[in-house]
Every structure is written in C-alpha cells, then in structure tokens.
C-alpha cells in the first residue's frame, strides 16, 4: 500500500485517499510550438523504470495537487513537494541521489 505525505496538510495519506495525476513537470507548449513538440507535450511520457516525478491530488483530504518523487520498481518514496514548481527542487534531487548514487534521471 502506497503512503504519501501531503506537503500541504501534512497528512500521511493512504493511496485510496489520493488521486494519481501522471508525470509531473511536463513543460507546457504554446501556440508557437511545432506539431511534433505539441504531440510530445500531449502524449509522450518518460514512463521510467525507476525514479519518477509525478502529480498527485489529496482528493479525499485537503483537495490540493502536489508532487512526489517515487521509485516505480521499489515503490520507495523519496520526497513529496509543492506543486508550485516547474522542476524538482534541489533538496529532492539530493534526497534521490543519496539513495541512488550516480542516478542521472533529471532533466
């Protein structure tokens, strides 16, 4: 069972309380984007086997969106953090590198 700590209300939430929202930090493309860029933005996903940055909503709690860094093989959670960021903060990357030395998954 997956447990994630909501960075807003501090609740350690069970996955049944949460709604998964897919890959995080996907850069939004504007009207000037090429067709390829826009298609990539809409559909293409990293889908990594390992460290993954993703969006979650504390649906049955405070209702807010937040981000999580999680390993898709071990289900280990490295950190949860605010959704008001365009990239994972330095301390989150550091937390991942502490446990996965040599990891180069970002950007």
């Amino acid at each position: 069972m997956l447990l994630l700590e909501c960075p807003y209300c501090g609740v350690m939430a069970d996955e049944t309380e949460l709604a998964p929202g897919g890959e995080a930090h996907i850069a939004r493309r504007g009207p000037e984007a090429s067709e390829e860029e826009f298609a990539a933005y809409l559909f293409e996903r990293k889908n990594p086997r390992g460290v993954h940055f993703e969006r979650w909503r504390h649906a049955a709690g405070c209702g807010k969106w937040f981000h999580a860094a999680r390993d898709t093989v071990t289900l280990e959670v490295f950190a949860t953090y605010s959704a008001q960021t365009l990239a994972p903060p330095e301390e989150v990357l550091a937390a991942i590198r502490r446990k996965r030395p040599g990891w180069e998954g970002w950007p």
């Binding site: 997956l2 897919g22 067709e35 889908n47 990594p48 086997r49 289900l75």
Partner: protein, 415 residues
C-alpha cells in the same frame, strides 16, 4: 518436430513416455539475424511465427529476459472476444479470434480454446446505451454479438443476481463465440512451431541496449553479448518504455500493474465469461474449477508485478454482490502483471523514428485475445517495412494527427 496426436499418446503410453522430445530447442545466440524480436510473450512469438509462415523469413531470433510466456502472457485471465466499437479494432481483434478457432489444429498443440461465450453486463442506463451502440457497430462489422435482456442473462448464468440493489443487471452484450484459452499453451504452441521452422528462441537473454548507425538499427546489446539485426521488433508489453528509451524515442504509453486472482476449485458453477464493467470485476471458471477473477488496474506508474490491495478488495466486493454464492470461497493465489496503457486504449503497431525498428505495444489490459492477429499484422509490417490493412490504423502518427481509435468504453474494465 514430432507431431502430437492421439496415436503418439498411445505409442508413448506403451513405452513409459520415454519418446517425447523437447518442445523447442534452446540454442546459443548466433552473431546476427535478419530479424530480432525482443520479448517472448505471445505477441513476440506470434510475430516470429508469422514472419516464417506468411513471409518465409526464418533467420529470426526471439530474445527473452526471463522464460518464454512468463510475462503478461502467463499472467492474464485469458478472455477472448472481439466486440470492440471502432472498425480498425473489430478487424484486428476479430482476425485474432478467428485464428484462435483453428489454433490447436494449425499449431498442433491443444491450446484449449473454449468459445463458451462472453457476457458484458450493462448495469446503468448509460452503459446499456453504450452496449446497444456496440451491438449495432458489431453487426455492421460482421462480428456476431447481440444485446440481450436480464432474463436471458439469468438463463445463461443461473448464479448471477440480476436484481441487486445498487446495480441491477439491465441487459448484456453477448458474444457467443468469445471465450477463453490456455494462456501458457498459446505461448508454448507458438514457440514449438517457431523452433521447428528454424527460429531461435533465446531465453534468459535480456536486451540492455540498442545499437544504431546513422539512424538505422544494427543490433542489440544483451546479457549474452551483442547480437546483430537488420530489423528489430520490440514486443515487450509493460517494458515498452524501457526499450523505447534504449532506441532513443518516447512512447504515448504508461505502465501500470493489473492484478488477478483465483479461488479454490469448486464444481462447475458458471460456463460463460461474465464481465461487469461498472462495478469493476469479471469472472470465469477454469477447467480445474477455480474461479478466475480480475478487476481494475492501478492508476499510477508501476513496474512491481504486484499491485495494490484495495483493487482486490473492490473487485471481490463487486463480484460477491453480483454472484452471492461465492461469498464464502477462499481465494488461493493473487498476482500482477505490468500492462502498457495508451491514451485511447488501442495498441500501437508501428514503424519508429529509428529505421529498421518496429514496435508492437500498448495492448494494455486486453492483449491476450489479440495475440494471433497482432502477430499476423506485425509480421507483415516487419517483412514489408510497411503496415498492411490490419496494422495501418495503429501507427504512432495517429496521436500527432489526432486520429485516435477510442476504445475506452469497449476496453472498459481491465481484461
């Protein structure tokens, strides 16, 4: 290859079964092949088989990191049906279903195809209208299905509760020639037939990299060394994203866990497949007597082959409500597989940005039923470097073009 037959069983019976030969060879990899297929699941093996049978290409290796059929092919709940909504889906799924009808004979192995009939319950007005629409679409596509009322459902499945308080059964989409087959046997039958035609199936050989020169594939790095390839077919289901990364492109696919479970064996109680998409559960009875049960997939990316317990709980709750007599059965085993989900719930059979590299993926929760049709279409794509009519609508470019093949209703519950 020595043929299996009633006569062979009799012959072996009188000589202590000493004469059976191994079903397939286990050769060491050669330095290079014309075609390398990654993934010895049903789809990879069927691709190799039809490359040889339909296109005369036998210089083929199928590389498998574990054992053949040990992925989703050996983990699924074996429902076979072709009652999808869109024409391209109906074409490839019906091709597959019809190949299942003669598979045991064609491959000389009993795959226990059992066209016992598949019922998809309508439990809301909305779902009922959806299935009525599918039944009309199927009629135009030449796929034999029919919308039936609750009385007929009760006749077909006496143990069902059609008047549950939450979700009464309002009717069902009925495909009498749908059913089940023995999943392992399907992989084994293709493997045996491939091996007999000279194709190398190499197990415990994980692909760890893809080599290329000037935008064209040249081979693969594996745990058993480099293997050259003029053409490469990636057929690895849940691991498609991992292989695509090696090849240098991304896919519109996310991998999630899907689970199934079986009960203790009981006397014959239900002789059709029942799917209840609104409440998220489906059930059939295996020839051993176990009830084979499946439900919803996880909502988040996952490569663990386990899945979350609350899905099991929800599935079992839904099925106990639908089939009250199962409430005291013990569940014996539970497992998970990693399924490759696309946004429109339709597969990808496509060329890729890397020349000479082809991909067959995105069958998600429903690709056991399509193994023969998918292998047939994929072999044509690889052999001719161009998709035939079955594969053409399923190219990767459909996402850029906004030409989705929307099966989110027909795919409904995971199956």
């Amino acid at each position: 290859m020595r043929r299996y037959s009633a006569f062979a069983i009799a012959r072996e019976a009188v000589r202590y079964h000493q004469g059976w030969e191994r079903a397939w060879r286990s050769p060491a990899p050669r330095p290079a092949y014309e075609v390398v297929v990654v993934g010895a699941g049903g789809h990879g093996l069927a691709t190799a088989y039809y490359l040889a049978r339909n296109h005369g290409i036998t210089d083929v290796a199928v590389l498998e990191k574990g054992w053949l059929g040990g992925g989703n092919t050996g983990r699924n709940t074996t429902i076979i049906r072709s009652n999808y909504l869109q024409d391209p889906s109906a074409a490839i799924y019906e091709k597959a279903r019809s190949l299942y009808e003669t598979m045991s004979r064609d491959l000389n192995m009993n795959v226990m195809f059992s066209p016992r009939g598949v019922l998809m319950l309508a439990q809301t007005e909305h779902e009922k209208r959806g299935y009525l629409r599918t039944a009309h679409a199927n009629r135009l596509q030449g796929v034999a299905t029919e919308f039936i009322g609750p009385e007929r459902v009760k006749e077909l499945v006496p143990i069902i509760n059609v008047s549950g308080p939450r979700y009464p059964v309002l009717g069902a989409l009925w495909q009498p020639r749908g059913g089940t087959a023995r999943h392992d046997a399907v992989a084994w039958a293709y493997a045996r037939a491939c091996s007999a035609m000279g194709i190398d199936i190499i197990q415990r050989c994980e692909v760890t990299g893809i080599t290329q020169e000037r935008g064209r594939v040249t081979g693969v790095e594996t745990t058993r060394g480099h293997i050259g390839a003029k053409k490469l077919a990636i057929v690895v289901a849940g691991h498609s994203g991992v292989l695509a990364e090696m090849a240098g492109f991304r896919l519109p696919i996310e991998s999630v866990a899907l689970q199934a479970l079986v009960s203790e064996p009981i006397k014959p109680a239900i002789d059709v497949v029942v799917m209840a998409n609104t409440v998220h559960g489906y059930m059939s009875q295996s020839d051993k007597g176990e009830l084979v049960i499946g439900g919803g997939a996880d909502g988040y990316n996952n490569y663990t082959q386990r899945g979350s317990f609350h899905h099991i709980e929800e599935t079992v709750r839904a099925l106990v409500e639908t089939f009250p007599i199962i409430s005291r059965l013990r569940m014996m085993r539970q497992w998970g597989g990693i399924v490759d989900m696309t946004g429109d719930r339709s597969p990808i059979l496509s060329k890729t940005p890397l020349e000479g590299c082809y991909i067959n993926a995105g069958w998600g929760t429903g690709g056991f039923k399509s193994i023969p049709g998918s292998g047939w279409a994929m072999a044509e794509l690889v052999a001719k470097d161009a998709p035939g009519p079955l594969a053409a609508p399923f190219g990767l470019e459909r996402f850029r073009e906004g030409r989705f093949i929307d099966e989110s209703v027909a795919a409904g519950v995971a199956h």
